[in-house]
C-alpha cells in the first residue's frame, strides 16, 4: 500500500510539468501586457520597456518557462506582479479558506444527498421519488449566484441570522457553504439514487432479506456499502471542482478563496500568480484523488487487495 502511495505521489511530477507548461503557454497566448498593469496609466513607453526587460518579459517563451521551472525546483514560485507577494505564501494563506468552504459544502451536501438518494431509490417511481428528483433538478439548474443572493436576502437582510459576506467566524461560512453545497447535493443525490437502484436488485440483497435481516440492515449494511464506490467518486470529483470552481459563490459572498484569487489574477494578467496557483491546485487535486482511491480500499477489500498487488 505504501509503495502504491509513493508511486502515485511520483506521478505528480509529470502532472506538474504538463500543467505548468500548458498554463504558461495559455497565459502567453492571451493578450495583455503585465508591464502596463504594473506601471499604470501614466507610464511612459521607456518605463514600460524597462519593466519588461527587468521582468524578462521580452525573453522567448521557452526561456521564461525554463526560468520559471528552475525557480520552482528551488522552491521559488515567484512573486505576484501586482501585489509583490510570494506566490506560494499567498496560495497557502488562501487555501484554508477554500478548504473551509469546500469542507462545509461537501458536509452539507453529503448530509442532504445520501439519505435523500437512498430514500428516493427505495421509493422509486412514487411521488416521493419525484419530489426528490425535483429537488435535485433545482439544485442542478439553479445558478449559484442567484441562490446565493436569495439566501443573503432572506437570512442576512430579513432574518439577520448570518452575515451577508466576508469571512468572520463560523457563521460566515454557512450561507456560502449551503449555496455551493446544494448544487453538490443534487449531483451526489442522483448518483446515490442510481447506484442504490443498481444494488437493491442484486441477489445478495434478496439473500440478506431471506436470512431475516431487517430492512434497515439490508439497505445500510448490504446495499449502501456496495453502492458507495460511485458515490465516493462523485464526492471526490466535487471536492476537486470546489478548489477553483466556486468563483461565483466566493464573489457573491466576498469569500477570499482560491477561485477568486485565480480569477482576479487572470484578469490582471498576473502570470506568476496564475501559474503558481494552478500548479498548486493540480497538486491538491491529485492528492484528493489519491485520498479517494485510498478510501475505496477502505470500503472494498477487493480494491485493497489490488493495491497491495500493484504495490
Amino acid at each position: 500500500m505504501i509503495k502504491y502511495i509513493v508511486k502515485r505521489l511520483l506521478q505528480l511530477i509529470p502532472v506538474i510539468i504538463v500543467t505548468s507548461f500548458l498554463i504558461y503557454w495559455a497565459m502567453n497566448l492571451t493578450s495583455g501586457d503585465p508591464a502596463l498593469l504594473i506601471a499604470g496609466d501614466k507610464a511612459t513607453p521607456e518605463m514600460l520597456e524597462q519593466i519588461r526587460e527587468e521582468m524578462g518579459l521580452n525573453d522567448p517563451f521557452l526561456v521564461r518557462y525554463g526560468r520559471y521551472m528552475l525557480g520552482m525546483i528551488q522552491g521559488d514560485m515567484g512573486e505576484s506582479y501586482i501585489t509583490g507577494k510570494d506566490v506560494f505564501q499567498t496560495f497557502m494563506e488562501t487555501l484554508p479558506n477554500t478548504l473551509m468552504l469546500g469542507g462545509a459544502a461537501v458536509l452539507i451536501a453529503v448530509i442532504i444527498a445520501l439519505p435523500l438518494g437512498i430514500y428516493t431509490a427505495i421509493h422509486q417511481s412514487t411521488w416521493k421519488d419525484n419530489v426528490g428528483m425535483v429537488f435535485a433538478l433545482f439544485g442542478t439548474a439553479m445558478p449559484n449566484f442567484w441562490l446565493g443572493l436569495m439566501l443573503i436576502l432572506l437570512f442576512s437582510l430579513k432574518l439577520g441570522w448570518f452575515p451577508s459576506g466576508g469571512k468572520a467566524g463560523f457563521s460566515s461560512v454557512v450561507l456560502p457553504a449551503v449555496t455551493v453545497g446544494y448544487g453538490l447535493a443534487a449531483l451526489i443525490m442522483r448518483t446515490t439514487r442510481s447506484s442504490m437502484l443498481d444494488v437493491i436488485r442484486q441477489d445478495y440483497m434478496t439473500t440478506a432479506r431471506a436470512k431475516g435481516c431487517s430492512e434497515r440492515q439490508v439497505i445500510f449494511r448490504h446495499g449502501l456499502k456496495n453502492a458507495l464506490i460511485p458515490i465516493i467518486t462523485a464526492i471526490g470529483m466535487q471536492i476537486s471542482m470546489i478548489m477553483t470552481g466556486s468563483v461565483l459563490a466566493e464573489t457573491v459572498f466576498s469569500w477570499p478563496g482560491i477561485g477568486r484569487l485565480v480569477n482576479d489574477s487572470i484578469a490582471r494578467r498576473d502570470n506568476e500568480m496564475v501559474t503558481g496557483a494552478i500548479i498548486m491546485c493540480s497538486i491538491c487535486m491529485c492528492l484528493i484523488n489519491l485520498v479517494v482511491d485510498l478510501v475505496y480500499a477502505f470500503f472494498d477489500p477487493r480494491i485493497k487487495a489490488q493495491y497491495a498487488k500493484k504495490g
Binding site: T30, S31, A43, L48, L149, S156, K158, S164, T251, D264
Partner: protein, 533 residues
Amino acid sequence: MKKKLALLMCLAMLATSVIGCSGGNGETTSGGETSAAGETTAAADGATGHKDTLIIGTDVDINNLDLQAQQDQINNIVLKNTHQALVWFTNEGEFEPGLATSWENVDDTHIKFTLRDDVYFNDGNKTPMTAEDVKFTLDMAMESVSAPNLAGFVSCTVDGDYEFTIETESYNNEFVQSLASQNLAIQSKKAYEDGVEDPYYIGTGPYKFDSWVQGEYCRLTKVEDYWGATTDQEVPDWAAPGVAETIDFKPYVEASSRVIALQAGEIDVCVNPPINELPFLEEDPNITVYEQAGSRLFYFAFNVTKEPWDNQTLRQAVACAIDRDSVLQAAVEGKGTLQTTILNRGLWGFYDDMEGFDYDVERAKELMAEAGYPDGGITTTLTYANSSPYESIATIIQANLAEIGITVTLSPCEDATLKSTCVNGDQELFLWRWNEDSKVDFVYRDLFYTGSGSNYHHYSDARADELTDLVATEKDPDKRLEYAQELQTYLVDACPQVPLYIANLVIAYNSNLQGQYFYGGGNHYWAHAYIAE
C-alpha cells in the same frame, strides 16, 4: 399526483419570488440610530459618542500597499490615512500646504521648501520627519513606477533639517501640485536603513497599519501619539487626529452583496453602489445616498493613425452622430453631466463654450459627404472593456453610427487586453475613461501629447504639443488661460475623442456617518470619518 407536484413547484417558485422581489425598506436596520447626518464635514473635532470601528465596503480588492509600487485608486484611499504628502489637495481642487509649510521659486528651475518641524513617524520611536526623508522619498520614487508623477524632477538638495530645494528640468506651473500625489507621500528613511520589514507601512498619518489579509480586509488603527494630537503648533483640518479607533476596508466585489451588506449594517459605507439599486437604498431611513458632480470622464475615441479615422472630418461626422443624452441615460441613468471639451470638469482652465459637435444626424451626414463618404459604407470595430457601463454605451453608439452608414462590430475584452491593444495601436475605435482631478497636464500631456504612453489615440500634432507646453510653462495667468482655452478648442475640433459624459460621484452610507471628506474622482479621505451614536 401531478396536481400535488404542480402545487409544490408553484409554492417553491412563489417563495423564491417573494424573497427576490422584496427590496430594502423601512424594516431593515443598518446599525446605529437615525440622524440627520450626511453633510460633508472636514474634521471631527469634539466627536463624542461613536462606534469604535468604521467599516468601508469597497468595490475592488486592495492589492498592494507599497506606496510607490502601486497605482490603483483603492490602495491610495487606504494609504491616505497612514501617509501624508508635502502638499494637500482639497476636494475643491485647490492646493494647500501639507507637510511642507511653504515654498518659493528661487529661479525657473529651483523651488525651495520649508517643512513642518513637529512631524514624526508612527514607528514607535517618534522619529522626526526631516528633509532627509523627503529627499529619500523623492529619489526612491524616481526609481519606481511612480516616477511619472514626478515628471520634470532633477534632484532634491537638503538645505537643513527642515529645508530642501528641488531642481526641475524647466519651469512648470504644476510641479508643486505633483507633490500631492499619494505615491509621493513621505516615507521614513530610517525604517529602510534599519531593515524594518515592510518599511513602506510607516508613515506620519493619523492612522497606522494593523493588518491586511488580501481579499478579506485591511485594518488601520488610530495612532494614539500622533503628531497632530501632540503638537503645540496649529494643525490644519486635514491633519487632525482620527476619531474611530479602527477603520476597516472590506472588499465586497459583487455590487448587490455590497448593497445588502450596507442594508444589513455589516458595513457603514458602500462605495460605488449600483445605480439600479439606488431606489431601494433611498427608501431606507438608515441609509443616505449621496451624489455630487464627479470628475471621471467617459469618452469614445479614435485611433487616428488607422484609416479611415485619420480623416478629421469623418471623425467630426461620427461625433455628430452620437446621441450622448441616450448614452448618459443608458450608462448611468442620467447621473452625470454632458460636456463638449476633453478636460475633466473641475480642473483649472475648464472651458466648455466651444461649438463642438452636438447630436445632429443631418449634420453628420453632411460631414460624411464632405469627408468623402456620402453613402457611408464604412465597416469598423469598436473595442471596449467588457464591464459596466461600456457595454451599454457601445450598443447605443453602434446603433447611432448605423444611421450614417457605418457598420460597427463590437469587440468587448478585458481591461488588460484593451490597454495592450490600444498601446500597440491595434484598435480602430475604442471606449475608455480618464479620471483626473488635480493636474491639467495629466490630461493634455498624457492623453494627447506626441508619444505619450497613454495617448491611445496615437494623436500627434505639433500645435497641440506646443499649446500643452505653453499651458505648463506660461507664467502669466491670463495668457495661460488663453492657451488652455485655445488648446481645448483645438482638440475638440481635431476630434481624436468624443467626450461622452462626466459620471457623478454616488456613494451610500449609514446615515450616522460624520466627518467624511469626498472627492468627485473617488479618492475619498476617511481619516476623520466615524459613525456617531
